[in-house]
Each structure stands twice: as structure tokens, then as C-alpha cells.
């Protein structure tokens, strides 16, 4: 009987100690309370809303439209003032016409930057089998929605399909195709955007906006796509154009 009492006594002490140990974690009493973080991509073409099928102008003032503008983003994380990260999303397939938003709970922190990558990390992109993922997963057969290259087992990191009118006519239909299908481990890009430091308390919420200016997919300060020649890459066959397309795509993200 006494032995049984001793066992229960020790068990009780162990539970008490384990609870106290949790109370003494460095972050204090708020450590189990989460903050809500929202990252919202505002998608535009110059200063206009980005709309599928709408007419815009390229660098040479020729008419151009987007039919498809999607891509994988991965390792979406917030960087705090201690240079630690809060991972919000490991991978997502984003339709840029849909003003994408990621909302998730994380530990309270003082945030100074947002980091995310364009594409699928190499370990998820080499010798992959999309049939092993649940349908809801962005890397599954269904979830990848055509951004999986079945002939070469890998994902399309960034897909832009569109049309333009190369003669400069305002009346002729836009029939000249543009297709940038970029995907290869060497095209994986990471973007870090600094934000004004903000402290997010436990139970608090903070939204961070990122501007995606699709115009920069076509030209920026260092490069300009001329659709008369720069209109088609499936990465293979025209890797230099895929690299340029990916560089321009990367430059389209900024803090507004």
C-alpha cells in the first residue's frame, strides 16, 4: 500500500514539475498564445488591376494580354529582429489573377522582413512522384493543375501564357503567342523584402502587403522582352530566355 502511495506521489510530483518547467520558458506566459499573420499579394500591371484577358501595353506600346499567370511559391516565412524565421507556408501554387493571401498563426515576434521563394525546392522537384500526394496538395497530379512536366518529372515554377499584337496595330486581333514555362532547379529564386519593423503581440494580427507588378515580367530597368523574338521558352530548348523570364518575374515583387 505504501509502495503504491509512493508511486502516485512521484507521479504527481513529476506532473507538477513538468508544468512548472513549461511556465519557465524564456518567452514567458504568452509563449503558447499565437499571433495571426497575413501576407497579401496585391497584383497589378503598372498601376492597374491585373485582370485575365485585359489589354495592357508592352515596353514598345504594343497591345498584350495575359491568359495564364501562375507559379509555385515556397518557404514563405517572416524574419524577426533576432533573424529567426516563422514559416507560414512550405509550398503553394498561386494564381496571380486571384490576389493571393496566406493567413496563418505563428509565435509573437517583431517582424523585419518577409522571405519567400519562387519555384519548388530541389528536394521536392527531382525524381518526384505527384501521385503520392493527396489531391488537395499543390504538388499532386490534380493540385499541380498542369504545372507538372510528365515527360521530364519536374514542376513548372512559373507559367505565363499570353497574346500580343506585333505590328503595333490597334485594330488587328492579338494572335501572336507568348509562353514562358520556366522550371528547373537552377531557376529557383529566393526573395527577401524588408518591411518597417512591427511588433506583433500574442493574440494580435498583422497583415503584410506585397506588390506583384506583372509589367515587370516583361521589362524592368535592366532587361526588356521583345515579343517578336522573346516569346517562347519551355525552359529546355531556350534556357537563356527562361533565365531572363525568371529574373524579370523575380523583380516584379516589392513592398508597396
Amino acid at each position: 500500500m505504501n509502495q503504491l502511495k509512493n508511486i502516485f506521489g512521484l507521479l504527481g510530483l513529476a506532473i507538477f514539475l513538468s508544468q512548472c518547467s513549461a511556465c519557465k520558458e524564456p518567452n514567458g506566459p504568452d509563449s503558447n498564445t499565437k499571433s495571426n499573420y497575413i501576407i497579401h499579394w496585391i497584383t497589378q500591371y503598372q498601376n492597374q488591376d491585373l485582370i485575365q484577358g485585359q489589354t495592357y501595353r508592352d515596353a514598345f506600346q504594343r497591345r498584350v494580354l495575359f491568359e495564364d499567370l501562375r507559379g509555385y511559391i515556397s518557404q514563405v516565412e517572416l524574419i524577426d529582429n533576432q533573424d529567426s524565421s516563422i514559416v507560414l507556408k512550405d509550398i503553394a501554387l498561386v494564381n496571380w489573377f486571384a490576389d493571393p493571401t496566406i493567413s496563418i498563426e505563428g509565435r509573437p515576434a517583431t517582424i523585419k522582413a518577409i522571405r519567400f521563394s519562387l519555384g519548388v525546392p530541389a528536394q521536392l522537384n527531382t525524381n518526384v512522384d505527384p501521385t503520392t500526394y493527396a489531391n488537395s496538395h499543390p504538388l499532386s497530379v490534380a493540385g499541380s493543375a498542369g504545372l507538372f512536366w510528365t515527360w521530364n518529372t519536374g514542376y513548372i515554377f512559373y507559367q505565363l501564357n499570353g497574346k500580343c499584337e506585333l505590328t503595333g496595330s490597334e485594330n488587328l486581333p492579338m494572335i501572336d503567342p507568348i509562353a514562358y514555362h520556366c522550371g528547373d532547379d537552377t531557376l529557383y529564386r529566393t526573395i527577401t523584402l524588408n518591411v518597417p519593423e512591427v511588433t506583433v503581440a500574442a493574440g494580435g494580427a498583422q497583415q503584410f502587403n506585397i506588390l506583384f507588378d506583372a509589367q515587370k515580367c516583361f521589362w524592368n530597368d535592366t532587361d526588356t522582352m521583345d515579343f517578336a523574338v522573346d516569346y517562347l521558352t519551355h525552359t529546355t530548348g531556350n534556357l537563356p530566355l527562361a533565365i531572363r523570364a525568371m529574373d524579370l518575374y523575380q523583380s516584379a515583387f516589392s513592398i508597396p
Binding site: 505527384p130 489531391n135 493543375a145 507538372f148 510528365t150 515527360w151 521530364n152 530548348g237
Partner: protein, 340 residues
């Protein structure tokens, strides 16, 4: 009256039993028949061979419902009587949409280290996904398998037996891979001469075999028996086409117009030849090699050069190539569609 009732009952029972036999399948593990010529191939750990999965793969292989317009199955472009090719220059898929490559044979894929003519796909399971979703082939929906297939109780039963899960793309690609792994062709006249010593070459075949192995022709350098391929990639001097070949996968311009060495087994049954079916006849293929190809490029294989074979030598080479036909394989009923 009584006789009619009995007859009706008999027909009903017979049809039930027939349907059951199509859905019930044997989930014991299976091995690939190697005819004592090759070792058992490496099988992916997540797709061990079993008889039920092979039968499920066979059923799927011939099911046109997997294509967008219900017109095309794997078996449309890979027909047993033509050693799983289709006799077309380039394949036609759903909605009669034309592809840009010749349908390759499916025999002996169990020993292939990679797939597609540029070798970009590393497993037979993933290769099976390609035609299902390709816009030039079956144009299946990546979103889901067709409802008629998902709701087919027979598929569900076979899938549960073979893979312990409902039918989905995971099951479909694995079952198709298992069926294709089971397609072995190692029972030709050549095999009976070389490996089993039960037959002999004719004099013409013997001379052709000698040319095939000669230090000048060097055919066997790339077409290495018993699979008659080295799985490497070469530019053999075909006329330029839009198809970049291996460069498409490697990005290296030095790989332009290089394609994987195809097997020569059953070559007699698989015209037209080359990656885009540009040559109709086997004697024309030999003539092309004899003149050293039709194009000279920096990356062209050094083995491809004028051979100066006589007419007799060309005939001998042809006679040898005919020994690689496996008539038993191309008439094997186990690889025909399941009877309904």
C-alpha cells in the same frame, strides 16, 4: 417451360460467374519471366509485382475511357501484333490529335533505366502518367479520373485487392507500370540459337550476325544483346527536325538530335522507324546506315559513316535482324484486352 427456366438460370449464373472472374484477381506476388537470359530487374519498393496489379494494369491499358474523348487507350498506339507499336509514323491521340514521335515498343521495359526518347523520366510509373495527361495523347484530366472508371465496381475491387486503396492516379500509374513490366520478349529465334542452343542460324543469318558484330559496322556496340540497346543517346545523322532530342532534357546543344538507342528486338514488326517514323522499311534503314546517315553535324556519332556493304551483305544483315522477332510474344493472349 421448365427447360426455358433452367436455361435462363444457367445463362444468368454463367454471366455472373464470368463478371466475378474478371473482377476477382490473385494478389500473390509475381515475378518477371526472364527465360534464363536476364536477371530479375529491379522493382520499385513501393510497387512490388503482384498478379492482380498486372491484371488491373492490363484492364486499364485497354480502357479508352481514360482518354478525354473516350477514343484512345494505351493499346491504341501500342498494339500487341506490332510488338506494341502502331504502324504509324507518329502517334495519333484523342481527338485524332497528332503527336510528333513514333510509338516505341513496350517490350522489355522492365530493364530500362529511364524512359522517353530523351531519357528524362526515371521510372515506368512516372512514364505511365505522361501519355495519360499529354495534350497530344490521351488528354486525360489531371483533376480526376473519369467518373465512369471511378464508379466501376470491378476497378474498385481490383484496386483494393492489389493496392489496398481505391482507384486513383497512384494506383493507375503503378498498375500500368506492372502490366508493362510483365511484357517480356526473349523468345526469338536468336534467343534459341544464342542462349538455349536449340536452333541454328541459317548461313545468311550467320553472315548477318557476323556483320552486326564486325569492327567496321559496330552495330552491337550500341545495340548490345540481349536487350539490343545500350540506353545511351546518339545523333545518327538523320535529317534535321524540330525535335531536339536529348537537348530538350539536358539543355546542352551538343545533345541536339540525340535520341536513346532503341531496341532491335521485333524490329521486323515495328515500322516505320526512327523517332519520327521517317523511314518506312527495314531495308531502307539498312541503306541509311550504309550511306552513313543523311546529315553531318559535329555531334554525330563517329560510328555512323559509309559502310559500303554489298547488296548481299545488306540482305544478310536483314536476315539476321529478322531473327529477333518473337512470334510467341506477339501472340501471347495474356497481353490482349481482357474479354468482357
Amino acid at each position: 417451360m421448365k427447360a426455358g427456366l433452367f436455361l435462363g438460370l444457367f445463362i444468368l449464373m454463367a454471366s455472373c460467374s464470368f463478371q466475378e472472374s474478371n473482377c476477382n484477381c490473385d494478389n500473390r506476388s509475381a515475378k518477371i519471366r526472364t527465360y534464363g537470359i536476364l536477371k530479375q530487374p529491379a522493382i520499385p519498393a513501393d510497387n512490388p509485382m503482384n498478379f492482380c496489379a498486372i491484371e488491373l494494369g492490363r484492364k486499364l491499358f485497354y480502357d479508352t475511357r481514360l482518354s478525354q474523348d473516350g477514343s484512345t487507350s494505351c493499346g491504341s498506339c501500342h498494339q500487341l501484333s506490332m510488338a506494341f507499336t502502331d504502324g504509324q509514323s507518329v502517334a495519333k491521340g484523342a481527338h485524332q490529335k497528332q503527336g510528333n514521335r513514333n510509338s516505341p515498343t513496350l517490350f522489355n521495359l522492365a530493364w530500362s533505366p529511364y524512359f522517353m526518347m530523351e531519357g528524362g523520366v526515371k521510372s515506368l510509373e512516372m512514364q505511365s502518367l505522361a501519355p495519360l495527361l499529354s495534350a497530344h495523347e490521351m488528354m486525360g484530366s489531371a483533376q480526376s479520373l473519369p467518373t465512369t472508371i471511378l464508379e466501376d465496381p470491378c476497378y474498385d475491387q481490383m484496386s483494393q485487392t492489389a493496392f489496398h486503396r481505391p482507384l486513383d492516379y497512384f494506383v493507375v500509374v503503378r498498375a500500368l507500370a506492372q502490366f508493362q513490366r510483365s511484357l517480356v520478349s526473349l523468345d526469338s529465334h536468336f534467343d534459341r540459337v544464342m542462349y538455349h542452343k536449340t536452333e541454328s542460324f541459317t548461313p545468311a543469318e550467320q553472315r548477318g550476325w557476323k556483320i552486326f558484330n564486325s569492327s567496321t559496322a559496330k552495330c552491337s556496340t550500341c545495340h548490345i544483346p540481349p536487350l539490343f540497346t545500350d540506353f545511351q543517346f546518339y545523333d545518327i545523322g538523320l535529317k534535321d527536325t524540330l525535335d531536339l532530342g536529348k537537348e530538350r532534357e539536358s539543355y546542352h546543344s551538343s545533345d541536339r538530335f540525340k535520341f536513346k538507342t532503341p531496341t532491335l528486338r521485333n524490329i521486323e514488326l515495328t515500322p516505320p522507324y526512327f523517332h519520327n517514323g521517317m523511314v518506312d522499311r527495314l531495308d531502307s534503314v539498312i541503306a541509311l546506315y550504309n550511306r552513313g546517315g543523311d546529315a553531318n553535324r559535329a555531334q554525330k556519332s563517329h560510328s555512323i559513316r559509309p559502310m559500303n556493304w554489298t547488296e548481299e551483305e545488306k540482305k544478310d544483315l536483314l536476315a539476321f535482324l529478322m531473327t529477333l522477332t518473337d512470334w510467341n510474344a506477339v501472340q501471347n493472349e495474356r497481353w490482349l484486352p481482357l474479354s468482357e
